[in-house]
Amino acid sequence: MTNLWMDIKHADVITVMGGNAAEAHPCGFKWVVEAKAHNNAKLIVIDPRFTRTASVADLYCPIRQGTDIAFLSGVAKYLLDNDKLQHRYVSAYSNAGYVVREGYAFEEGLFAGYDADKRDYDKTTWDYEIGPDGYAVVDETMQHPRCVMQLLKQHVAIYTPEMVEKICGSPRETFLKVCEMIATTASPERTMTSLYALGWTQHSKGSQNIRAMCIVQTLLGNIGMLGGGMNALRGHSNIQGLTDIGLMSNLIPGYLNIPIEKEPDYESYIAKRQFKPLRPGQTSYWQNYNKFFVSFQKAMWGDHATRENGWAYDYLPKLDVPTYDVVRGFELAKQGKMTGYVIQGFNPLMTFPNRTKMTEAFSRLKFVVVMDPLKTETARFWENHGEYNPVEPSKIQTEVFELPTTLFAEEEGSLSNSSRWLQWHWQAQEAPGECRPDIEIMSELHLRIKALYEKEGGAFPDPIVNLKWDYAIAESPTAVELARELNGYTLSPTQDLSGQTIPAGRQVDGFAQLKDDGSTACGCWIYSGCYTEKGNTMARRDNTDPGNRGIAPNWAFAWPANRRVLYNRASCDPEGKPWSEKKKLIEWNGKQWVGFDVPDYGATVAPDKGVGPFILNQEGVARLWTRGLMRDGPFPTHYEPFESPVQNVAFPKIKGAPAARIFKGDLADLGTSEEFPYAATSYRLTEHFHQWTKHARINAILQPEAFVEIGEELAKEKGIAKGGWVRVWSKRGSIKAKAVVTKRIKPLICDGKKVHVVGIPQHWGFIGLTRKGWHPNSLTPVVGDANTETPEFKAWLVNIEATTPPADAVA
């Protein structure tokens, strides 16, 4: 989230699209209800299903899953055609006037530089024209034919209301009502917040779905504003933290990168990342990349990371492919190229696409380790559970370990929520049985492996035996010890920004004190400030909220630097005066930036210095056009899902998203709309949390049994009774479930064709207290988003029929 949960109360329009906030985030959704009740806000819900969020909406608009880009490009076109822009914001704070270099083109759905064999682009031309002064060329009148504004107008020109209706199945009148409501927030006094979640990300063009709304929000001047922003409602309680700390194939904590093969040493690695400003006077925060990186290496390897060895650069693995994400991981496992998997609190057998493939992949591993407070399907992939898991254990030669862990009530530490708050929690009870905290398990594993290397030697033991591990009890580091490492500390005396000497062994105050000379160590630079010499700021519990802005600056700690609303400099006009007094966040008082939030800007940088408000970008402005930063194009473009009930009306030659990765076997596993005519989608229900709460009795009572949701018309056509059993199958598998026949799902007319939607919630499995059932991932295809490899769980094809109950079903 650029903004924070309570901030939603300031919105004038709330658009929930690509998510179902009322069901997935009920307590965050209270701020939507608050905005409606006390700010006279209007709630728009755009979803294939009439959800529980839609039940309290002012305007509901149906849409076929996988067509969000067409819809939002249509909105952008409406704003441009009807001159509903926040003009000064667009001209001063976006790259609308930036001139794009010659050679860049977009034709028949493809950008310049496409290589069909590689399914990838040569992105050389996707950049600005650079002037003789070394900076990007800007036409402030936005009239240059190759400036971003003109290119944007051309790019969205095809998405007329008629085209939107054809592609999305959204009725033209309803679509126009949505446009009108959204357009009201072009006024500097009014803001719209965009609330989204995995309904946007789980597509082969998920990142571009979000980009499409970013364009709309930038045109309306809603980024950096109170009650505005792009608000990703993250899934799990600490998925934000896990991503921040870089538990991904290609990340180093704080969104730094694992080097690639072609970066042989520290210098070549850093040179590519210290982005230079693209406009005179800009800041480009990434100039500090080396300070964050060196401090990270020092936190990992202490004295073994020296200037001489490039700060232990060789201790880091180098990537030969963009990522070894989990989709690739299980593809390799299926090919027999993996030996083992170590899994913490994760149930991949159920949560990754194509269950048959997952079972096969697991069965080919030599060992699987599962750490979890609950019994999971993954830990029992080899166990026969009748038709719910029809495997033969004797044929599976995998060694499996199930290690019992503590849960939240039995440990202390911090979690990072969607608003980027790090909140500390405390232990309330002892662990049952022999459960142990994950911290101890990982420490024990490390120490035992280290001991083996010290005794036996082996492949490159250096990064293991030299890992910094100076905890009071080596087998059981405390959460406080680890939090202090994340914050960062001085290793030798160093100077702060004002020239004062900080002695060795002190916690730093924030990332501004980090150095590239080896005098500081920091586990995760963006978390710097979470545990300073003053103590644990994550444990702060002062909920005072000056000015009733919904900021509560002294509650816990928010990264970066305790800033609550990102890009908040953009809440003021170029002279430093708030666009709206009512929505004031910060302002320039003649000497410095002051207000309710920590400024996202140099605290004493005067407005007339011309520094843009988006200081993390080299341009200092928001990007309507993303240069070469996205793999699949600088503008979002409508592509159909890999399995789609209709062809691409806008670009008939293109099937699927052209730059999305798909493995050969998975491509062969795609079905056609002739065989599988219905548009399926998977999702959560408010009564459950993934496959987790089926272990909690009350939640099992509230939603006890697996079901699929279909409209009345399809039910009638197929002879499916409400509460009867149905079989749903795709090219990859078949499941049974009860049928919920509802008025809330209606067929959509797309390009003259009637499309029925089949909704499949995802909370049941073969372990737990609910009735046994199947997960939609028995059916889903294995293809990921071009930029993030997030699987396309939200749009694929199935067939459906009435059927008989499973053998063990209760009447």
Partner: protein, 310 residues
Amino acid sequence: MADYSSLDIRQRSASTDQPPAIRSHMEVAKLIDVSKCIGCKACQSACEEWNDLRDDIGVNTGVYDNPHDLTPKTWTLMRFTEYENPETQNLEWLIRKDGCMHCTEPGCLKACPSPGAIVQYSNGIVDFIEENCIGCGYCVKGCPFNIPRLSEKDHKAYKCTLCSDRVAVGQAPACAKACPTGSIMFGTKQAMIEQAHDRVEDLQSRGFKNAGLYDPAGVSGTHVMYVLHHNDKPSLYAGLPNDPKISPLVAFWKGGAKVFGLAAMGFAAVAGFFHYVTAGPNEVAPEEEEEAVELDHEKRRNGGSEARPH
């Protein structure tokens, strides 16, 4: 000083010796704003957790409602209705939290033959005192909202207590505290009525011209009230009675029939009651118990259709 957490008794079942009202009391109420409800069932969850109830794990019957009805272990329940508004052509998903309405004139209490099994506190809460319950099912018959349920396990009647244990120490009921969107509010009845008026105004401004407060006069008002978008048609909301009234049978007894009741009351009945208080209700022959429950179910089914105009 008015005290809304008072447990002074205003009325008790089957008793003529009502305690005198000396202190003045504030009435409490729960306001359920259906227009803010997202049907998340947090109220159901919190209710089960706080009251140490765990109902059976059921099945899906083609709807979101689970469990499918109120039971002795499910004191509150979300009921989902899909309604296509003929005036606007809009689909509306009307979701109502069902449960005891805590009537000012409680039909259950009037009907209850066992002294002190049902009481009404001065704050308006109607509570079942299970240890005095004889399991006769009269409260079920007497309730115009079809709320109380008899347990087959201990043959006592159960329903929402409005968390009288929490209210007694100044806390809101568990459901009201949990409710993520503030659809369930709790406070003095006066404050809830005022809040309801604000909400009605907002809804009317959004095009729901018949929005209103449901605080039915037929039972002299309730201590659980609803804000409805369509207050002209309460029955749209899973059969919320349009005009709830205490059953004529109960009214009959409370009125002129008392004499008849006393006169006709057989010696056996009194003896039976003594059997209850000395030996306990579980002494009732099992087959009779079964029949009684069976009969009660039958009544509930019938009562249900009466109470729920379609």
